[in-house]
Symmetry: none
């Protein structure tokens, strides 16, 4: 028995007046996801617990059976490992986004118009940065997908305990503060603020950005580090559950979690982490990975990105694409031999453009599980699911039971 | 208000192709169980938690309100107390089964064809065994039902920490190992292996077994101890809940748990612990016990035995017999005065022949509980139950509330 876990990031939503009080999942009518629901058992998932809006980092950790309250050391460490950086003890890592600021360094576009072109040239400028405050600190920057990248500070006397928040419209970028009284936190905050200002000074007038302005696009004129973290320690999935795992994901965060848990991370050409991602390429990669792995995690970032942009049509369109991906997987696997788990890690309502704590639909299909009669995969149908209301930490135990490897207690 | 808890051991299952995708409970159409469902509230039960396949020992402990993670000291202690042996501190107890091995002591029938005849004669041989390694250790063996028995080692310097596993086809019986470096564990493992070999030497050519061979039946030519344990300490039910309890069960394990919890254990002639058990005698015993007890636990082992044998028709037939037993109880009790709880402690799919972690159906009927409209007792109907998804540890609190003795907090 093998298993595929399909995660639509931020795919769950709320009912929308403009959709006649339906949700994006309901309006998308995802036939293949519905098929999974009708072949399996559905329910509601709280990745952490009722009322907690999770980041995708902690949600995914919980779904893979880790206790995020124990193992989570910040997003940056996961992102850096996902970007292929070998983190060392003492390194402080950040997610780091290209954004657009005005001359007062106030954010006017958090993603620089989701910039993609010219990024290698801009990134090259960053590699040559020399910071006054950090002559003894190695500055590692690596762009990952589009406007996204990671920043690692390597040296003595650094601390992850700084207020490096996600870029936010209307706020100055270089106002990172230490979160404790240590000189390490103070120093790290100072270095980060200098880094932000220095990035602005080398990026703002770069020809790539001049051309962007000329075309009416927001310039990628600053880099903003956020989500500080250090290297987390995850017990390998293979040791914990005896499963050989593979990960099919675009974004560094998920790649990082999976790499740290000992899974093979498969790079898929055409996987962009946005709504134009090639979900069929992901389906093929997942099916290929299933040949020599027990557990394949397929993560699609697009729904969350569309939601954060408030892009309702984009969200519906990526849900339809995920549905085709699920269909391609369903067509090739035998549910007698392979379980399929379909879930959203959290809800990101397009109206709110941020994560909320609503429960999300989950469906598990495979083998001769007693079916519950639910024949749709969406937020409303899940209310009637036989799984009831579960937590992220229950997903792996339930799956292991289906794979014929339940935990045991008693004789 | 009084209560009857009916436990069908391992009664839950999965949907089976050969049953047109129904489960044994669905195909059995248990009218009386369905009646209990229609009069009450149904739900799903995880004896421990999602993903954990429980033994009947820990499941029953949880259902009676004990925390198995705190009180469980192994199966053997429970079995020995159930068999009527007064366990002492330092005693190490085992479940101990007659089985069939070849001359290399490899198991070829884990239950010696469910042997029943001639057991007292065979057991007498064991009582006279003298072990070289255990001259200072008292060896107590007591047969309980059919191929089942218990073994207690009484003496100094023993340990329960040995790898005494359930007999398994194709494995040598005398390969018990110490599970720590202590000389007590080493000594106990050595004694057990000598016991197994010695049992073979006195049983293999015994006239009873010669006759079994002559009739084409597997000889009961070895005794295999498993499920080591010591005497557990259970706070009496009467003290905890103010309930006078009685137990109607065939198997020592359940008798032991109930005896340790201070319940009266009622011996029922005709209760065999197998699918030919006399469930109507159990119904009569339960009704009789209800006269002077507040809580009567009725346990039927048969469904689990049939499931471990992969005997689908046997499982359906014992479910039908349990249904008649439930009907006989229903007929005589007034639900205004007596609650009925109907549950399976765990699922044992006949296809897998082992315990799994699937949730099981539970129904609670009595008094003027708000009914949930579920009118069948089975795995699928339970998905729609008003109780939702509960844990074993919730059963007693829910029941106590119905009995008019809820726990209280606040003023």
């Amino acid at each position: 028995m093998k298993a595929v876990i399909v995660i639509g990031d931020g795919m769950a939503d709320r009912q929308l007046k403009e959709l006649n009080h339906l949700t994006p999942l309901e309006i998308a009518e995802p036939k293949n996801m519905d098929r999974v629901a009708s072949l399996g058992v559905s329910g509601l998932l709280y990745a952490l617990s009722p009322g907690v809006a999770p980041g995708s980092d902690v949600a995914t950790l919980a779904i893979l059976g880790y206790d995020p309250y124990k193992v989570y050391t910040g997003r940056g460490g996961l992102e850096a490992v996902g970007a292929g950086i070998e983190l060392r003890d003492g390194d402080v890592a950040f997610r780091c986004d290209f954004a657009t600021v005005n001359e007062e360094l106030v954010v006017i576009d958090e993603r620089a118009g989701r910039v993609r072109e010219g990024i290698p040239e801009l990134a090259a400028q960053i590699r040559d940065l020399r910071l006054k405050l950090a002559s003894d600190v190695e500055i590692i920057f690596k762009q990952t997908l589009g406007f996204k990248g990671v920043l690692v500070l390597r040296g003595e006397g650094l601390s992850p305990n700084v207020s490096a928040h996600k870029p936010k419209l209307g706020l100055r970028a270089d106002l990172i503060r230490p979160l404790d009284d240590s000189k390490e936190a103070k120093r790290t905050a100072d270095i980060l603020n200098e880094f932000i200002r220095a990035s602005y000074s080398v990026l703002n007038d770069h020809p790539i950005n001049q051309e962007r302005r000329f075309r009416g696009k927001p310039p990628a004129n600053v880099l903003i580090p956020w989500g500080s973290g250090t290297r987390p320690n995850l017990a390998p999935l293979q040791e914990r559950y005896g499963l050989r795992g593979a990960c099919v994901a675009a974004v560094s965060l998920i790649k990082g979690i999976c790499r740290l848990s000992g899974m093979d991370v498969i790079d898929v050409p055409g996987a962009t982490g946005e709504i134009d991602t090639d979900t069929m390429a992901k389906a093929s990669a997942a099916l290929e990975a299933l040949k020599d792995h027990d557990l394949v995690l397929v993560h699609v970032e697009g729904p969350d990105e569309a939601s954060h942009d408030g892009d309702l049509l984009g969200k519906i369109s990526i849900i339809k694409k995920i549905d085709l991906m699920v269909g391609a997987i369903l067509e090739k696997v035998d549910l007698e031999e392979t379980c399929i788990v379909l879930l959203a890690d959290h809800a990101t309502p397009v109206k709110l453009k941020k994560h909320v704590a609503d429960p999300t639909p989950i469906t598990i299909a495979g083998l001769d599980m007693v079916r519950d009669g639910v024949s749709n995969y969406n937020e409303r149908a899940a209310y009637r699911g036989g799984l009831g209301c579960i937590r992220g930490r229950h997903v792996m135990p339930i799956l292991l039971n289906l794979l014929g490897r339940p935990m045991r207690f008693g004789a």
